[in-house]
């Protein structure tokens, strides 16, 4: 373990079973000083990078994550305040500045080495390695549903507990009493013997001079007074009166507006444009060539947009100019076939001998599924305000990765990163899109050509056509069933693997499994989309297990239940959702019920959908959800995230389809990339299971299982098995979907 240093930077923390901290890896040196001037005014004491205490006894939690609607500022502050025994009414939240001290290595570590248990963080060399890597990569990311499991558990709670111990120690010295005789509650320390009592702020300056305690003890859930309660989120009041400041709301003196048009075909560059065509149009200030896009700067967005629409632009030809969506699916099929023929299948996991089990099977079931590309389509189109002045570049935007964005801009403008200052606003939706800095780089480049602040706003059309898309994919299955209908082999091949690695894994006890994939690159840019690869694989695997249950002539819930006998935790989540839904009760005519379960980002979620088939359309009327994320820090926030994940996932399953036409994205706005709306939004009921297992995420795990639960419900209602999303491609009044591929 590293040497404990006064006011040192806590780089990681570990706990098990909620009781004892095994240790906190401390970086040598006095790093807190380097961030002190960023977060503290003169009369505040900085304990570490996660909190400060003001003279009025306000505790400010410094949160190194962006809030894009998931309420993470509130939940992280709760975690810190709980261990600190702070008065929740005197807790404030501040988002950390884009600074290297906040570089977040947990997320990349998860992707780099898989789902490693936290106790491995004890190994200082591993921590040190990843911290170094992540600092080098300049990442300070909100994503991967990691904020609570990593920053919260290892950072905020440990920091709160450590700081509480330091305050108690300082009070013991000041009053000359044993520290054991002191109690702390509501941001005050009391000594029963002498009747003395004092606010945290009284002891903060002295405490800041103390060494950090070695083993701060964390509370058990039964000691919680803040965690596990439904406190009101701190961001909500500003989001009902119009005062919340999103990136697009930045207003600077003399600011002008810009909008861009990039090459419709990914990879093409600007060949020529005729700026004379828009010279003299009202308000137009400048036309900027950004290499792969052209920007118009004007006095207002509307003027810039009108001028850009009138600007003749020619883009270079590329080898992808003729690509159609059907070509991409044909390429996937060919690459999958070739991988099998050539024996260069890439193995995800193999247990037992699936091929042998298949050969001996009583029956074999086969099916192939497809999913389209998806756009994130957050409500706030991409935008960034940039201003180069006095040797610095200031940026105002909404980003899931402020430090990474600042580094990218520094690189493009050939500036030192310390001269790039990024002000992060609220994000009008992220879902993974705002982890990619393209729009920020564009804004900085435009601003570098003028001497005033510029707000770049993408049109909705630009936003939809220049996203980083969830991949399209094909997944093929073969399963062997024994004479009782139980699967004895599971073989799965798919294309386009990204992250996380375990996304195609199944929880079921099937002795012979072979899961593998083929690579098949396309020219369509890929990006993290809410739940990433889980968003497609849950649809694939939970549709196919449903087909196996049907072939076996068994109930969809109980078939899964029996295959989960090795995992009571999974069974409990599954059974909770089924029972919540009244699984065995009769449904009205034209209704169907479907179930699915999937684990992602450390949380297990099971969902049941009740769908009504009306005039050939599927309308989800009710959804039931059970979630086990270990422990729900903020139960109402957990429910909100499940509701959000369900509606985001239902929107994609029912409607969303980004397709490629002549090399470019065919869709452009909400009329041809439709959204689920109020009249189709189901009632949602969520049951939270606090199992006490390792803490999992909440932002993403609500999404994966809802698509298969929906199509399984449609099958239950109609006997039609949908194997290609979105659902709206299929006319449910016709017999166009047959139960195919069942051998």
């Amino acid at each position: 373990m590293g040497k404990w240093t006064r006011r040192a930077f806590i780089s990681a923390g570990v706990l098990t079973s909620g009781v004892v901290v095994f240790g906190i890896a401390i970086r040598p040196g006095n790093r807190a000083d380097r961030v002190k001037d960023l977060i503290a005014s003169d009369d505040e004491s900085v304990f570490n990078v996660w909190l400060k205490i003001s003279p009025d006894n306000t505790v400010t939690a410094i949160v190194p994550h962006a809030d894009m609607g998931q309420g993470v500022h509130t939940t992280l502050a709760m975690m810190l305040a709980e261990e600190l025994d702070a008065d929740w009414d005197q807790v404030a939240v501040l988002e950390a500045p884009a600074h290297k001290e906040y570089a977040n290595y947990a997320l990349a570590k998860g992707y780099a080495v898989g789902d490693v248990e936290f106790p491995s963080w004890l190994v200082d060399t591993v921590d040190g390695f990843f911290l170094t890597v992540m600092k080098a990569m300049n990442m300070q990311i909100t994503g991967g549903s990691t904020s609570i499991p990593t920053t919260g558990q290892a950072g905020m709670r440990v920091a709160g507990a450590a700081t509480r111990a330091m305050l108690l120690e300082a009070a013991a010295k000041a009053w000359n009493v044993p520290v054991e005789e002191l109690t702390a509650a509501k941001s005050r320390i009391s000594h029963a013997g002498s009747g003395r009592s004092g606010a945290y702020a009284e002891f903060a300056p002295a405490a800041a001079e103390l060494s950090l305690p070695v083993n701060p003890v964390l509370k058990n859930p039964d000691q919680f007074t803040i965690l596990g309660t439904d406190v009101l989120r701190n961001d909500v009041p500003t989001k009902v009166d119009g005062t919340a400041q999103f990136g697009i709301d930045a207003r600077l003196p003399g600011m002008k507006y810009a909008t861009v048009k990039a090459s419709p075909v990914f990879g093409a560059t600007v060949k020529s444009f005729d700026a004379n065509a828009i010279r003299g149009m009202p308000g137009v200030r400048r036309v900027a060539d950004l290499g792969d896009a052209v920007a118009v700067v004007a006095d207002g967005y509307w003027q810039a947009k009108q001028a850009l629409d009138s600007l003749p632009i020619e883009f270079t030809e590329t080898e992808h100019d003729a690509v159609e969506q059907s070509d991409i699916f044909r390429q996937f099929e060919a690459d999958m076939d070739a991988a099998t023929a050539n024996g260069d299948e890439i193995t995800d996991m193999a247990v037992g001998d699936a091929a042998a089990a298949l050969a001996e099977a009583d029956s074999v079931v086969e099916a192939e599924y497809r999913v389209p590309y998806l756009s994130h389509a957050p409500m706030e189109p991409m935008n960034c305000t940039a201003w180069l002045h006095d040797g610095i570049c200031e940026l105002w935007t909404g980003t899931q990765n402020p430090l990474g964005f600042a580094a990218e801009v520094a690189n493009v403008l050939e500036m030192d990163i310390k001269n790039v200052r990024l002000h992060n606003g609220y994000l009008g939706g992220g879902f993974g899109r705002r982890a990619f800095p393209d729009y920020t780089i564009q804004a900085a480049r435009i601003a570098s050509e003028v001497n005033f602040p510029v707000q770049l706003i993408w049109s909705r059309e630009e936003d939809m056509r220049h996203d980083h898309y969830r991949q399209a994919s094909i997944s093929r299955f073969k399963a062997a069933l024994d004479s009782t209908g139980k699967p004895t082999a599971w073989i799965n091949q798919y294309v386009e693997k990204h992250d996380p690695k375990e996304a195609p894994y199944i929880p079921y006890g099937i002795g012979n499994q072979y899961i593998h994939y083929a690579e098949s690159a396309t020219h369509v840019p890929w990006g993290f989309w809410r739940s990433v690869d889980h968003s497609l694989h849950a649809f694939f695997t939970e549709s196919f297990i449903d087909e196996l249950a049907f072939t076996a002539g068994q109930d969809a819930w109980r078939y899964r239940h029996d295959l989960l006998n090795h995992s009571p935790r999974f069974q409990k989540v599954l059974d909770t959702a089924a029972e919540l839904s009244g699984w065995d009760t009769a449904l009205p005519e034209n209704f169907g019920r479907g179930i699915a379960i999937h684990q992602s980002f450390g949380s297990i979620v099971a969902q049941v959908v009740e769908v009504e088939i009306s005039e050939g359309r599927a309308i989800p009327r009710r959804a039931f959800c059970a979630v086990d994320a270990g422990y729900a820090m903020h139960p109402d926030g957990m429910r909100a995230q499940m509701e959000s994940g369900i509606i985001y996932g239902l929107t994609a399953a029912l409607y969303s389809d980004i397709s490629i036409r002549r090399g470019a994205v065919a869709q452009s706005n909400f009329h041809d990339y439709p959204m689920l709306r109020m009249d189709e939004s189901p009632e949602i009921e969520t049951a939270i299971i606090d199992s006490g297992e390792k803490i999992g995420g909440a932002g993403e795990p609500g999404t994966p299982a809802i698509a298969p639960a929906l199509v399984n419900a449609i099958f239950n209602a109609t006997g039609k098995r949908i194997r290609e999303l979105p659902v709206r491609l299929h006319d449910l009044t016709d017999e166009d979907i047959e139960s195919r591929d069942i051998v």
Binding site: G242, Q303, M379, H671, R677
Partner: protein, 163 residues
Amino acid sequence: MIILTINGKTYQLDVDPGTPLLWVIREQLGLTGTKFGCGIAQCGACTVHLDGTPIRSCVTPAQVADGKFIRTIEGIATPEGTLHAVQQAWIDEQVPQCGYCQSGQVMAAVALLESNATPSDADIDAAMSGNVCRCGTYPRIRRGIKRAAAALGNDDSGETVNG
């Protein structure tokens, strides 16, 4: 020259009369609570009231509002700062997530309750389906509208059962 009365204040503005009202409100007047979402009246983020009627300001030319009364999210609370019942219900039900669409949602909900004090679920569907929320806050918006209706003195509406 266009004359707009917004949240009780009157402005004389020198703007191209074809400019959508949204950009006049956001850029000329600096009222940034009203949001840009799609530009084609498909998402409702830009919803404001024109003479009491909810409109999509992203496709409404400024000249259409000439001489008329406009209300934005900034004009919903009382001048003393007391929140509108819809705003308070949004806090009580913890409706917003990212919050970007919520100005438009609140404006649509306020307009609904001003024309229909006891909206049914079907009324809520009809009035609110023009407003997209990517965070999926629809179930809470529905509850928020019922709570606000009850708070405004129509207690029976809070008991409406969905479906």
